[in-house]
């Protein structure tokens, strides 16, 4: 039976960053993903590189984390980011009144937010609402969701990690309360195999509870569906957000020749097979028109829905659950040592999510190596295929 120090379950951005992080610490790692890499939540995300400004008023910790990660990702994954910065637009009384507090909260979180005259904002982006009352410049950007994650996969493979797509974990083996290995099934062939390991990272995002259930462990996760709509035509170069307390439909992310409005939030039971609702699409298009008039007149391209893996349980729609990152050590919260679940977070924070869970895994395995993922530029994403 093949042995690896650590098995990572889940081939999204978090799993990719975790596999890379652990490989850099000298551990042998194999990652399993039941579908294609990034086919769950990661690929479908809005594409915003968050400076953290959106969270500055409500959640200073996340805001700070986003800003720190934005700085790191710009250094290690430059060509996976359209770094054009972002504008927050106050277009009503609420936004106008909130502007000074918003800027102060950003500064508090180390986000270099700067108010610019409305005339200047209109020079920068000619399509934004001309009735904008105040405008604030922040260091947002656009991520290529697929390529950013693939850069982490390429770097993991370059450091010796093994990545298996279309391979589903169907069992977790344990003995005397400690993780011993996993059983997997190759979707290609139906073949079942066992792998021995000493630790498992459950990075299955909104499916994390189903993975943990294989070992009779509990994971409190709330899948929250978010819908986005893309139209043809790049209406701005910068990310455009509505200056108000975070709500639905208040961010427009441009990307290549597209503009994408998002998002919404509703709690769902099953993260699989999500589809946008008619009312979500019309709501998003009319919200976009408030930021960029005539957005909805652009040719419609696509609407889709992603499942956020919010950490915690909710009886409400989920907006009240924090987007904070959460690492669960099932040796402490449950009765299985060596199983760790990583939840919450955002695309912008994929690297630090890998770091936080890898810290705990390294400690469990008595490995002294620190995280080094912020130090080196990642391999270009196409090296994932050049190296294999």
């Amino acid at each position: 039976m093949d042995y690896f120090d650590v098995v990572v379950i889940g081939g999204g951005g978090t799993g990719a960053a975790t596999a890379y992080d652990l490989s850099l610490r000298g551990l042998s790692v194999i990652l399993f993903e039941r579908g294609e890499l990034t086919s769950g939540t990661t690929g479908r995300h809005h594409g915003q590189l968050h400076s953290g400004a959106r969270y500055a008023l409500g959640d200073p910790h996340i805001a700070q984390e986003c800003m720190a990660e934005t700085r790191i990702l710009r250094r290690i994954a430059r060509d996976a980011i359209e770094y054009n910065q972002g504008l927050f637009l106050a277009i009503d009384d609420e936004g106008e009144a909130l502007t000074p507090d918003f800027i102060a909260a950003c500064r508090e979180a180390d986000i270099p937010a700067m108010e610019v005259p409305v005339q200047r904002a209109l020079e920068l982006e000619r399509r934004i609402n001309p009735k904008t009352r105040r405008a604030v410049l922040v260091p947002d950007g656009t991520i290529d969701a697929y390529r950013l994650a693939m850069r982490f996969f390429a770097s993991a493979v370059a450091r010796g990690a093994v990545v298996r797509n279309f391979t589903e974990v169907i069992g977790i083996d344990s003995s005397q309360g400690e993780v011993q290995g996993v059983r997997v099934r190759q979707i290609r062939t139906g073949l079942e195999q066992r792998y021995a390991c000493r630790a498992i990272v459950n990075a299955a995002g909104p499916w994390a509870d189903k993975v943990a259930a294989l070992a009779q462990q509990d994971v409190p996760v709330t899948p929250a569906a978010g819908t986005m709509v893309a139209v043809e035509g790049r209406l701005t170069n910068m990310v455009v957000s509505r200056l108000r307390r975070p709500g639905d439909g208040d961010i427009i992310v441009p990307q290549r020749r597209l503009s994408i409005i998002g998002s919404t939030q509703r709690k769902v039971d099953d993260p699989d097979g999500l589809r946008p609702l008619e009312e979500e699409i019309s709501f998003l298009l009319s919200s976009a028109d408030e930021l960029i008039p005539d957005f909805s007149k652009q040719p419609f391209r696509s609407a889709w829905t992603a499942a956020r893996p919010l950490a915690g349980r909710s009886s409400e729609e989920g907006r009240e659950i924090s987007r904070d990152i959460s690492v669960i050590d099932h040796g402490k919260t449950g009765n299985l040592k060596g199983l760790f679940t990583i939840l919450g977070g955002k695309a912008t924070t994929l690297r630090i999510m890998g770091e936080l869970v890898s810290d705990q895994v390294a400690q469990y395995l008595d490995v002294d190596e620190p995280c080094r993922t912020a130090l080196f530029e990642l391999y270009p994403y196409d090296y994932y295929w050049r190296l294999s």
Partner: protein
């Protein structure tokens, strides 16, 4: 709406077409239908997908013989028929609708730039009579190629240019549709590959523009017998490209530069 789809399943010589029926709201895409089937009765159905809005390039398939992105093809577009859905040609078949995309990534120019200077200046959706060089695309917005135009001068401090990702999403549609690459694109014949293919030549041309210091090297690649000279000008590449890259135009521009 109810819709039947005829899907190629299996691997190697062991392939068959299966017909599946889906029941989805109008506006749903072929990719939504594949998700419906996989999360329902056929959990092992293999296909590649990621972004669901035509940005990642993973879900290219052939529908009734034509290369498309499954995520951007609406079920309405095929209503009234039972469309046949098959994997891309030329690429090594994995299983069902999935191919192995590596042969394209291994042939693209190594370490080429993935960002370009953004030519979008977010203008009105009409032609500016004072600036004839401004091109209005059917998608709206305005592409402004004049760097001295005021709209291209405005940018926040600390940013040299507004940038955007290159158009090509490396979906492989053009490689599958090209009558030349479709004949022989297998990895084993790497040394003897008769034609590097439209996506690769388009990337070579874009790189010669993005990185002028690499221009000579890029033109040298284009000059090889399996470069521009091997293109037979069928232009299927430009017809199927889902991102307006128009690889055929890039090949023609390279051809002019090589004269």
């Amino acid at each position: 709406m109810r819709q039947s789809l005829r899907i190629l399943r299996g691997t190697g010589d062991d392939v068959l077409h299966y017909v599946y029926e889906v029941d989805l709201p109008s506006g749903s895409s072929v990719l939504d239908a594949l998700e419906y089937i996989r999360t329902g009765s056929v959990p092992d159905l293999m296909y590649r997908h990621s972004c669901h809005h035509g940005s990642c390039g993973t879900c290219a398939v052939r529908i009734n013989g034509k290369e498309v992105l499954a995520c951007l093809t609406k079920l309405e577009d095929v209503a009234g028929t039972v469309p046949t859905i098959e994997p891309l040609q030329a690429f090594k078949h994995d299983k069902d609708l999935a191919v192995e995309p590596g042969s394209l990534f291994r042939r693209l120019p190594k370490d080429a730039a993935k960002l370009r200077i953004s030519e979008w200046s977010g203008g009105e959706i009409k032609r500016d009579p004072d600036h004839e060089e401004n091109e209005v695309r059917p998608g709206g917005g305005e592409i402004n190629r004049d760097p001295s135009h005021e709209a291209n001068q405005a940018r926040p401090g600390g940013i040299e240019h507004f940038v955007r990702f290159e158009d090509c999403i490396e979906c492989g549609a053009c490689i599958s549709a090209c009558p030349v690459t479709k004949q022989n694109w297998s990895e084993e014949s790497l040394e003897m590959l008769p034609f590097v293919g439209p996506a690769v030549l388009a990337a070579i041309h874009r790189e010669s523009i993005n990185n002028p210091e690499w221009r000579e090297e890029m033109l040298e690649l284009a000059k090889q017998p399996n470069g521009v000279a091997a293109c037979e000008k069928h232009f299927n590449c430009s017809r199927v490209c889902p991102r307006m890259v128009a690889p055929g135009r890039h090949i023609e521009e390279l051809r002019k530069e090589l004269l």
